[in-house]
Symmetry: C3
């Protein structure tokens, strides 16, 4: 983390407070598997008052995942960026590493809270390597790949989410206008 400290005070970024969902899946990106997790997360978020601004689908490649995370944070200015998939221990599961490479500050307590909630249901929950962190004014949360696991983990964060997003945003007057967009 220490090499990231120079970028901790973010430059002004747009402040669209919507959500971006990034599904990370080799088979999904090849069109071999339907993106059920992305769809179910989107429906769940809408039900809870969080508008989804964009959904993306990338294979399990660090640079492609990191690129989507940067776009969502720096160009779109999303308040919340969720990934689903690639958090396990298989050789191609690298979503946490992609996330560690782009965040300015880690929020370990949210990752711990997700795992503690899941561990009460299944011992396999300890294998989730999910990372939660902040890039600029965006909260990035890694969720598991299965629809059930993704929703369960997100539900564990929900009670703290409004306060988290409000605090991360800081002073709204610091936001840059999104060109050509209503903010």
């Amino acid at each position: 983390m220490s090499e990231a400290t120079t970028s901790i005070r973010p430059a002004a970024a747009p402040c669209d407070r919507g959500v971006v969902i990034i599904t990370v899946s080799d088979r999904g990106a090849q069109g071999l598997r339907e993106d059920r997790s992305g769809a179910e997360l989107e429906a769940y978020l809408k039900d809870h008052g969080y508008p989804v601004r964009r959904r993306a689908l990338v294979p399990d490649e660090i640079e492609l995942i990191a690129g989507e995370l940067r776009t969502a944070a720096d160009q779109i200015g999303a308040g919340l960026i969720l990934t689903t998939g690639g958090t396990g221990v298989a050789p191609r599961d690298v979503t946490p590493e992609a996330t560690l490479g782009v965040i300015d500050r880690s929020v370990p307590g949210m990752a711990e809270a997700m795992r503690a909630a899941s561990l009460a249901k299944t011992p396999h929950a300890m294998l989730s390597r999910a990372v939660v962190g902040i890039r600029g004014r965006s909260l990035i949360v890694n969720l598991p790949g299965s629809p059930k696991g993704a929703l369960e983990n997100l539900a564990a964060l929900l009670p703290a989410l409004p306060h988290a997003l409000a605090k991360i945003q800081g002073d709204p007057s610091d936001c840059a206008a999104v060109e050509g967009e209503k903010v």
Copy 2:
């Protein structure tokens, strides 16, 4: 952490086993807010047999926080260094990053134990990004900024604290004398 491994075996430092409390607060440092957390921590520690050697007050600036941590560990030789404030997710909350930059070794279990204890009371506890680590012969603990949160988190560590401080100190004969001080 890996770049810190060269400094893991500390050079001899003074072994005053007292406590240093560092309050991290922009408004406190400007004189706009009373340092209640620092005062309450000092009283609590004295009640539990830990003499407070020094209290400091710094704004939420990484380099200033890191400088106080280094002074407390390397010049004062404090056994325990507590920070209060700057552990949240707001843009200027950078106490954990300052701490990560000065510690030789992380003690993640103490941070997890603090959050688990607080999470039983409020879901907002998962937003504490507190770090616990060791620099030389000093244990550094990040506590939240509110007096209630700071005391609650410290209380969660108390049962393990005597053993921790004794072990971290290692062989007392390794300590350097503090110049001009009774040790």
Copy 3:
């Protein structure tokens, strides 16, 4: 972790799925203390169907520990590498730092699960700085130095271990043959 990302996709390594146990102890390495933890871990693992391929004994020196970890992962191709000892807060406890220096990917949930299970028994459990991570196709787990603590921590992982090792191995056809060995 970010500097390790270039090595996340491991080159073909042998796939002996046995266990290597590394005891980390200055006094053990000097012949001043019997390696009870290593012996008890070996017996426990055999009882649970995990063959122990090799046991090693090293002093609390980062480079020596890291060297044994690399040998176990890269030359022996162990599926599971356990260390016992050196996870505490004493000045010479550096097993976690040695482990952080060789892993490609961290598995924080397994370390959290071990500490949470131990913390239910003793507050000193929060002082374990154990790291769990993956190097190539090997899972590396730091266990405490006492036989009781080591077995207790390992037991906390056991329900997730078969799934973890199968997933980490990935496709068995990727394994390189061990020269002169039956795989």
